[in-house]
Symmetry: C2
Subunit: 343 residues, 2 copies
């Protein structure tokens, strides 16, 4: 095995780092493999063994701008986003692949920071990053760095219906684990270099431990989905579409942190449509609510959990919110983008 330390590495990524030759090998060995705990030889495919069963499989590309933001960075996001997708499907996340597209000239120091974030989050979530790829494109042909992570996990027994909402029934309650909108507002603030009186941090976090507590609570969970691009309102619309049932939420119950609410009012954003990276919607039978709330509130990521509404069973596939002023409004599927490159 070579032993080249990072001091000897270039300060900036060059096209040669993507050539598949000696420099690619050095990059993989020195930056990624050492942090991700990958063993040589590096082969075309990683191999893992499973005892059999249902495997959840999910992929996401992360193109967030800026790549470092209050509360996280693109590496943390790339791991959390993908393990969260597995967790909400009722799976125990086990393995990740990560593929990097890097712009020529990208600072090696930043790549190291990003890799360290990934390694840290992977460890927290109990997953191993076992396969990867690195491509380098010419200056100006991508925006610094894009990361695609793909995850595999084993679906927990009795949980294969959770992602597809097959078990949702009229009267089921909707619960979220905390305030919405923080990720979007943190990114917007970082991008526009806004200064807030109270800093808004992205809620980017791995929900694996929290969801595990929910799934071992003894309550039958009928649906889960993380509230990413498009926010809570989009997930509610998708749920209504999937089940063919109406949904009612109470805006008074949906937690929104003060600085987020303030900025939304000022800039005309609706927090229900803003992206989150550490929030999950959980649908459970009414009689399971107290156990689920207790499970959520026992976790730092669920302290501000709230029951926000219910499945009405009306066959109108409509999502209706009781507003703060006592009226109602329809939460439609949005057709535009409030903020591009939010994840």
């Amino acid at each position: 095995m070579h032993s080249i330390n990072t001091e000897e590495m270039a300060e900036y990524i060059t096209l040669n780092h993507g050539s598949g030759g000696r420099l690619t090998g050095e990059l993989v060995r020195e930056i990624f493999a050492s942090r991700f705990g990958m063993n040589e030889p590096f082969t075309d495919s990683a191999i893992f063994n499973v005892a059999g069963g249902d495997i959840a499989f999910t992929t996401d590309s992360y193109v967030i701008d800026p790549i470092f933001f209050p509360g996280g960075d693109i590496g943390k996001l790339a791991v959390c986003g993908t393990v969260n997708d597995l967790a909400v499907a009722g799976a125990v996340p086990l393995y990740l692949s990560s593929s990097f597209i890097i712009e020529e000239g990208f600072p090696v120091e930043d790549l190291i920071k990003i890799s360290e974030s990934m390694a840290k989050e992977a460890e927290k979530a109990g997953v191993r990053i076992i396969a990867g790829d690195t491509k380098v494109v010419e200056k100006g042909k991508c925006d610094r760095i894009f990361i695609t992570t793909t995850g595999a996990g084993i679906i927990r027994e009795g949980c294969s219906h959770i992602g597809s909402a097959a078990g949702v029934k009229p009267g089921d309650r909707l619960i979220i684990n905390g305030p919405v909108g923080n990720h979007s507002i943190a990114i917007m603030g970082a991008r526009k270099q806004l200064s807030f009186t109270t800093q808004v941090l992205s809620d980017c976090a791995s929900l694996v431990q929290l969801i595990s507590k929910v799934l071992v609570s003894g309550v039958e969970v009928h649906f889960m989905r993380d509230l990413t691009r498009g926010g809570l309102a989009t997930v509610l619309n998708e749920l209504s579409e999937m089940t063919g049932m109406g949904i009612e939420v109470d805006e008074n119950k949906i937690p929104v942190d003060e600085p987020v609410r303030g900025l939304c009012e000022m800039m005309g954003f609706d927090p229900l449509y803003l992206a989150n990276e550490g929030k999950v919607l959980i649908v459970v039978p009414e009689n399971g609510c107290s156990k689920i709330m207790a499970a959520l509130r026992s976790d730092p990521l669920g302290e501000k959990a709230e029951i926000i509404g219910e499945i009405t069973g009306k066959k109108n596939k409509m999502v209706v919110a009781k507003t703060v002023t006592g009226g109602t409004r329809v939460l439609d599927m949005h057709s535009g983008t409030q903020l591009p490159r939010i994840c």
Copy 2:
């Protein structure tokens, strides 16, 4: 289910197609899911069932320039490259995910062509594309389209050593399934708009059927690797590094098509370092060569297969080529890139 046909879709991809909202749903439904045979509901994770065993898992990002080239396009490449990585690991490829990063303004017509290529190659290779993601970045923030595919397959019984070269022994023979360098030269030609007397096509192809014939031939295969970035010489160096053994190849035996050889001589390229997308190195015991050659030559992708050298067992980890003129030269690991964005 909505039924919106492509006539109603925008002609160009907009940022809203990446918003996670209504237009993302339309894009996924109308362009990807319909061609990939994905069923609604589209959930965060796809689920597949396995009986248990060793799973091969591999990922690659494709950033090739140009995206349409003689012999293929980025979609064909993204499927073939990943299924080939699984096949050379001794796996039966089963499932793929595909994640798209698309530049605002990208023609929908081109996205359809690319999706059709992907669907066609997936069918040929016997894999299903079951999970995906779409991100759209602003004009100028990526170069048209990047695709990341991740694949999973079941390792065939008795084949888990193939990717790691654990079974390679001195005296083993090296076989390749046909001429090298065509992919690189085709891409270079397309990029520089060179005109050749005889057109050079990329060899981009799924090797799944070919490799299947090799693996059911009854011969114990000790190693396989596809000859992509860095070409044959790089794979030979990696094999020498992995096994700690020397390798000798005979340049006279390594097939190179005439137009490729001509262009290499003119431009000073070494075909042994050029990328391929439909070539595989197979290492087998000497007494298995005739069966393997018969299996290869029975397939259209193996008609020009040749035995090109052997494992010497010298402990010098050196790759030596007998040259056309009767001398020898060392094939070292290259440290530069002959052509960026070749895959």
